[in-house]
Every structure is written in C-alpha cells, then in structure tokens.
C-alpha cells in the first residue's frame, strides 16, 4: 500500500511537472502540496513509514536510486504475490476438476437412477398393489379369526367336552358347554344374514357337540348320583352345576334325578333298618325295636325318625337343585322326595301292622290312631300328600282306626252275647261299668293326644255310636225279664250312669238328650207305678177308677158297688194313716235309684198324682148329686191339707 502511495506521489509530481505549462501548474502543484495535510493522511504516513525502513541513508545516490529501489521493491512484492496466487489458483483448479468429476459422477448416477427407476416402476406399482391386497387379506384374516373364535370351539374346549376315557369331568366343562350353547344361539343371527350356509353348518356341528356333551354329562351325573348312598350324601357344586345344565334336556334331567332318588332311597332304607335294629354307637341311642313292647313309644320313635329323615332328605335335594329354576325344582323336589321315602314304606308298614295286629287294646289303638294322624300332618308339611309314605301312614291310620272300631264292636258284641243279669240292688252291672270306664279312657286319651280339636267331633260321635247303643241295648235286654218297676229302676240307674260318664266330654249333647228322654220315660213309669201302688195299698184305687169313669147316667156314685159311704170311709182312714207317714208306702225300688235327685223326683211326682186322685175323689164325694150322707165325715181332709202333708 505504501508503495502504491509512493507511486501515486511520483505520478502526481511527474504529471505536475508535465502540466506546468498550462495555468501555472507549478503553483497549482505547490498549492496542492501545501494544502496537503500530511498529519491527516494516514496512507501517506504509512508509506513514509515503510519507506523509512529501507531508505536508511539520505544521500544523493540513494536519492537518485530511490525510484528504482521502490520499483524494484514493488516488482518483488508483486512477484511474491503472483507466486502466492499461483498456488491458490492451482488448488482451485484441482477443486474445480474434482467438482467436475463429481458432477460427471452425479450425472452418471442420475442417469443410472433414472434407468433404474424406469426399470422398477412396474415392480413398485405391483408391490403397492400386492400390499393393498395383503392388507385386505390381513383384515379378512382378522375377521375370520374373530369369527372362528366366536363360532368355533378351541381345541382344548373340544378336548374338555370330549373328556377323558374314565368319564371324569373337567372343571372347565360347564364353561365349554355354555360356549357351545352360546355359539348355537349365535348361529341364529348368522342365519338371519346372508351367511346361511356357514350358520347351518356351524349350528349342526354345535348341535352334535352339544348332544355328545350332554350325553357325557348325563353319564357322569348318573355315576355321581349313584354314589350318593352314604348317610350324608356329599353333594358337590359340580353335581349341582351338572343338574343345572341338564335342565335343558328334561329327559336326562329326570333320569339323573331318578338315579339320585334311587341312591338316597337305598340309603334311607339302610339307615332306617340300622336305627331300628342296631341303634347308635355302643347302643346309645338304643335301637328303636328295643322298645317294641311299648307300642306307642315304638311307633312314635319310628315315625319321628322318619320325620327327621324326610326333612334331611328334603334338604339334600334342595342342595342338589340349588342352581335350578325354582319352578322345575319345586316340582321335582316333591317327586324325588316321594320316591326316596317310598323305600321305607314296606318296613314301616310291616312294623306298624305288627303293632296294630297284636291287639294292644282299644285305648292303645285309639292313641296309636291319633299318633299316626299327627304324623300324617307333620310329615305332610314336608312331603306332598300323594307320596307313598304319607299314603302308607294314612293306610296304617285307617287300619288302626278300623281295628279300634273292630275291638269296640267286638266288645259291644260280647256285651250283647252274654248279658249279665241285673244285680239285686238294681244297680249297674260290672260289664256296664267296665265299658263305661273304657269309654272314659278312650275319650280322655284324646285330651292328651296331639290332634287338632276339630277332628274330635267326628271321632267322638262314631265312638259313642259304637259303644253306647249296644250298651243301652244290653241294659234293655238284661232288664227285659224284670217286672216293670224293677226294670224301670234298673234302666234309670244304667242310663244315669252312662249319662254321668258322657257329661264329662264335649260333643255328647245329642246323646245326653236322648239318654235324658229315655230316663224320663222310665221315671214316668216309675212314678205312675208308685202312685198306683199307694192308691192300691190305701184301697183308693178302686174308688179312683170308678170316679174317673163315672157318668151321671149310672146314677149317684154312692149307689155303686164298693162306693158306699162305709167302705169309702174305711179307705179314707187307711189313706189317712198313709198321710201320717208317707214314706212307709214308698216302693223299695224307688229307694234303689242311684240318683238322689231322681228319687226326689219320683217321690214328688207320685205325690202329685196321689193329690190329683184325692182331689178327684174328694170332689166326687162332696158332690151332692152323688148323694153321700155326711160327706164331710167321709173325707175329713181337704185337698189343700193333703198337699201340705205330702209335700
């Protein structure tokens, strides 16, 4: 730079010298130089500074050479510059070459790529096509998978359903079965779409699977049920599930339940026999048959045992059918329960029959009937009324009742067959009191029995019909050979005794009424007998008869035979002595009446009759038409006086 400045100065000075000709160039030059302010001209300063580096000595020679020195120096520097640039240029050239080579290369590659592209174009389009196709196929595969998983069984499920050779059931069986069922139902949806062929085929396959599965399940259930013959059947959940599933196949379900019923039936019969004959461990509780000498306890124990077993069996079935629909379960529970308890009917019947036939006497038979009736109701709460156990109990009850009435009838028959003669005191015979005691025992046993009150009425009526009628007949027969008064007394006594017994019980009103009427009839007889006895004894009976039948056409009474004043007076004096002690003419039979009240009645009513008779005779004698002289003397007492004396 400094060199260039110097050069500039040189040119300027040279030009100024050359231009001095015009317009005083020198002065201009000078001015210019003078105007030049060296301080501020940095370039100048730099140039001068570098000049000072080589312009060391200021002499003429050097001053003369300055120009060439500077030029030389400039040349040198330029040469150096050129050298330097040469290197740079060469390098640039090589770069240029490289770039060119690269370009060529690139071009080459481009063209090659282009060719390649041209060549692969088909392939790519083909690939794309294939790709879309593959995507589509994948989608389809997915759909198919889902379809299959929805509409086909897995291999293991098929395995589970097919089961093992020994017939045991896999825990997943029911799940698999449910899937088969689900698929089968889902097929209906398929049938509604246009996939009918698939739907039908799958449906068919599933139906086959289902059938074989149900068959296997049934066989398994059957086996399981068959094994439930222990005291406490072990009803596991699998079995309950099995029955739940089998509900879809009513026939198999029914058969399985039958199998269960048969197993339980065997079990309950066995335990029943055990309880009867072997009892508990070491004999406690003792076998029921040990009490067979006590018919009531024996039968009671047997029936209680059956009641408890029936309740337990019902629980077992309920446990078995816990998953099943309530409606089908309820119905089946009763059927199966009836079947289960069917087995014990025979042993029960045999034993009860033995008890009944062993003639334990009417009271026991009646108690037994009531016990059976009670258990018929109690067990009836567990079983349905059409079950054979209840039928057996009912049958036994009927038999028992029949036997009871048979015994009663037999007793009654015996009464009539061998009629006891009335005892001398005209009281009751021993057969009567025995029979009445029996009736009392029977009727009282009803109080201690466990039957509802309603059942009593019919029973009582029938029992009374059975006993009381023959009893009365017996009394009549035994009384038939007696004279009237004895008979009346005896009958009153018998009937009174019967009445007394029956009065203690309910539902005997009608009987009591009837007995009362009969007693009244006999009392009437006795009363009239007593009255006529007194009249006869006092000699008034003849007079009384005539007075009763007297008609005015016959003429005055006193003129009739035996009615004259004298004989009337004699009779009246006899009557008077009777009035003095009325009891002296009481018939012995009347005092033999058991009931004081009846004795009193007979006395009162016979007195009334006597009074009526006396009144009639009295008024007849006092009647002037009858022409009794001194009528007052014949009948000294007025009827009122007689009434006073006799009451």
């Amino acid at each position: 730079m400094a060199d260039r400045e110097v050069a500039d100065v040189m040119t300027t000075s040279s030009s100024s010298s050359s231009g001095s000709a015009t317009n005083n160039p020198l002065s201009r030059k000078l001015n210019k130089i003078l105007e030049t302010r060296l301080d501020s001209d940095k370039e100048m300063l730099e140039a001068l500074k570098s000049l000072s580096t080589f312009f060391t000595s200021n002499n003429i020679r050097t001053r003369r050479n300055l120009r060439s020195d500077i030029e030389r120096r400039s040349l040198l520097i330029n040469e150096e510059f050129v050298d330097c640039f040469k290197v740079a240029k060469e390098q640039l050239d090589s770069i240029c070459e490289d770039v060119q080579a690269m370009n060529e290369c690139c071009l080459d590659m481009t063209s090659r790529l282009k060719t390649a592209k041209d060549q692969t174009h088909d392939l790519i389009s083909q690939t794309t096509q294939l790709q879309t196709e593959s995507q589509k196929l994948q989608m389809r595969a997915q759909v198919t998978d889902v379809f299959l998983s929805k509409f086909q069984l897995k291999q293991e499920e098929v395995q589970i359903l097919r089961g093992t050779r020994d017939g045991s059931l896999h825990p997943g069986f029911f799940k698999a079965l449910a899937r088969v069922k689900q698929i089968h139902t889902d097929c209906k949806v398929l049938l509604r779409t246009n996939q009918q062929t698939a739907g039908l085929e799958i449906m068919e396959a599933m139906a086959l699977q289902q059938e074989s599965a149900y068959e296997r399940l049934y066989r398994w259930t059957q086996n399981e049920c068959r094994m439930l013959s222990g005291d406490t059947p072990d009803i596991n959940n699998q079995l309950c599930l099995a029955l739940e599933s089998l509900q879809d196949r009513p026939v198999l379900f029914r058969y399985s339940l039958d199998e269960f019923g048969t197993a339980r039936r065997t079990a309950i019969v066995r335990s029943f026999i055990d309880a009867l004959t072997r009892g508990g461990p070491g004999g406690t509780p003792r076998p029921i048959e040990l009490h067979s000498h006590d018919p009531l306890r024996y039968s009671g124990d047997i029936l209680a045992w059956l009641h408890q077993s029936a309740a337990s069996e019902k629980e077992h079935i309920q446990a078995l059918l816990k998953h099943c629909a309530a409606t089908s379960a309820d119905e089946n529970i009763h059927d199966v329960l009836s079947h289960i308890t069917d087995g014990v009917c025979r042993p029960l019947k045999v034993r009860l029959e033995q008890v009944v036939v062993s003639e334990p006497g009417p009271v026991l038979l009646y108690k037994l009937t009531n016990l059976l009736k009670f258990y018929h109701v109690t067990i009836g709460n567990i079983l349905l009324s059409n079950s054979s156990l209840l039928n057996t109990i009912d049958e036994m009850q009927t038999l028992c009742l029949k036997m009871f009435f048979n015994t009663l009838n037999y007793n009654a028959g015996k009464l009539l067959e061998k009629v006891e003669l009335p005892p001398g005191d005209l009281g009751t015979t021993s057969s009567l009191s025995n029979t009445l005691q029996l009736v009392q025992d029977i009727l009282s046993s009803h109080d201690s029995s466990v039957i509802a009150i309603d059942a009593r009425k019919q029973d009582f009526t029938q029992i009374l019909n059975c006993v009381i009628d023959p009893l009365i007949q017996m009394c009549s027969v035994s009384a038939s050979r007696l004279p009237t008064v004895d008979m009346a007394t005896y009958m009153i006594n018998c009937l009174y005794q019967i009445q007394n017994t029956l009065a203690l019980y309910e539902y005997t009103d009608q009987r009591l009424e009837m007995l009362n009427a009969q007693i009244d009839a006999h009392v009437d007889t006795l009363v009239s007998e007593q009255a006529s006895f007194i009249l006869t004894r006092t000699g008034l009976s003849h007079a009384y008869g005539i007075v009763q039948q007297h008609q005015s056409a016959q003429g005055p009474l006193s003129s009739l035979h035996g009615m004259d004043a004298v004989s009337m007076k004699a009779a009246m004096s006899k009557f008077d002595s009777y009035l003095a002690s009325p009891d002296s003419l009481t018939m012995t039979q009347c005092s033999l009446l058991l009931s004081a009240k009846q004795r009193e009645t007979v006395k009162r009513r016979s007195s009334e009759l006597i009074i009526a008779a006396y009144q009639l005779i009295f008024s007849a004698i006092m009647d002037v038409q009858n022409k009794y002289a001194e009528s007052n003397g014949i009948v000294p007492r007025t009827p009122d006086q007689v009434i006073k004396l006799l009451s």
Binding site: T164, R165, D166, G167, S168, P171, D231, T232, D234, I235, N236, N237, Q238, C240, S271, D274, A275, R278, G279, G280, P281, G282, T284, P285, I288, L296, R297, G300, D301, L303, A304, W305, H307, Q308, A311, S312, E315, Q318, A319, K322, L371, F374, V377, T378, D447, S448, S449, V450
Partner: protein, 217 residues
Amino acid sequence: MAAGPYNYSYIFKYIIIGDMGVGKSCLLHQFTEKKFMADCPHTIGVEFGTRIIEVAGQKIKLQIWDTAGQERFRAVTRSYYRGAAGALMVYDITTFIVRSTYNHLSSWLTDARNLTNPNTVIFLIGNKSDLEAQRDVTYEEAKQFADENGLMFLECSAKTGENVEEAFLDTAKKIYQNIQDGSLDLNAAESGVQHKPTTPRNTLSNDQPQSKDGCAC
C-alpha cells in the same frame, strides 16, 4: 367354586327343650332369621330350622329341632331326642314356680340324659334376660344348677338377640371339640353329627389324579 349355602363339612343335630312359653321357638327364630317373633303360636309337635355356622374355620350346618313344650306333646317330642348332638334346655328367668323351676329343669335334664348319647352337649339357657325387672331366677342360682349338673350355661334374650348366637355357637364349639379330642365317634350312626369326608373341591381333586392314572395305563 362359589361357597354356596350348601357347602359344609359337618351337620350337627340340636334339640331345644323346656316348658311351654319359655321362648324356645323364639330363640330358634332369632337364631335362624335374626328377628324376634312377637306373636309366636304354640308349637305343634316339633318344628325344624337350619343355619350354617363356622367353627374353627369349618362350615357346620346346624339342624335344629324345636320341640313343643306342652305336656300333651311330651310323648311325641321324646322321640326326637334320639341322636341329638346338642340339647338346648331353656327356662324362663321371669317365672320362678317356688323351687319347682328346679324340679322342672331336673325332669327335662333326666329326659335329656336318658334319651340322648352320653356325649350330647347339654346347654342351659335362661331366656327373656331383657325382662330384668321381672326377674325371678337369679343368675347365680341357675349357674349353680348348671355347675352341679355339668351343663354349659348362658342367659340370653330372644327378643333383643343378646347371647342367642353365643349359646348356639358355644354348643357347636363344644361338640366340635369333642370330635377333635375323639370323645365323639363320628363313624357311629346317630351320633347327631354327620361328617362330609372332604369338601367338594377336594373330592374333585382327589378323583382326578386317579382318573389320570387310569388313563395312562
């Protein structure tokens, strides 16, 4: 496998005995239904209730026979003592019939002893403990009776439910204990206890290995 109401490993048979009107049926109802039955009719003969309880991790089904207290049913109810594992003897703490409470209890106890197993657990229950104001039998008296006769004893109330659960459970615990120490023989029929050999699940797993063995042959 759902532990349904039917899965249990033992069945214990109980009877409830005692005079009429002491609240036997109410106790049973309170225990099975957890409710108080205000107008309880007289029991006719026997009635029956069940409930499943748990003792020492074992599910036990109680089969409870509630007997009628009326004298006329005595002959019938006696038949139900057979094979009871537990007997709950109930009296009413508000009726003290001059010393005859003891006589009655003694006669019930005699019946129970005569008609059940020697191992039957007899539990004395004084019912109606809610009627403290009308109490006629002291706790001490009854406790003494129980101790003298080797009975378990609690006072409870079927009305409030107080101690009802305990009485039934304690009896079951005692029976279970008898089974555990071997004094109660399960194999015997009519021990009042029925045992299911294994739980259903075990039966299943027991069956299967055998079946597999069978297959391998």
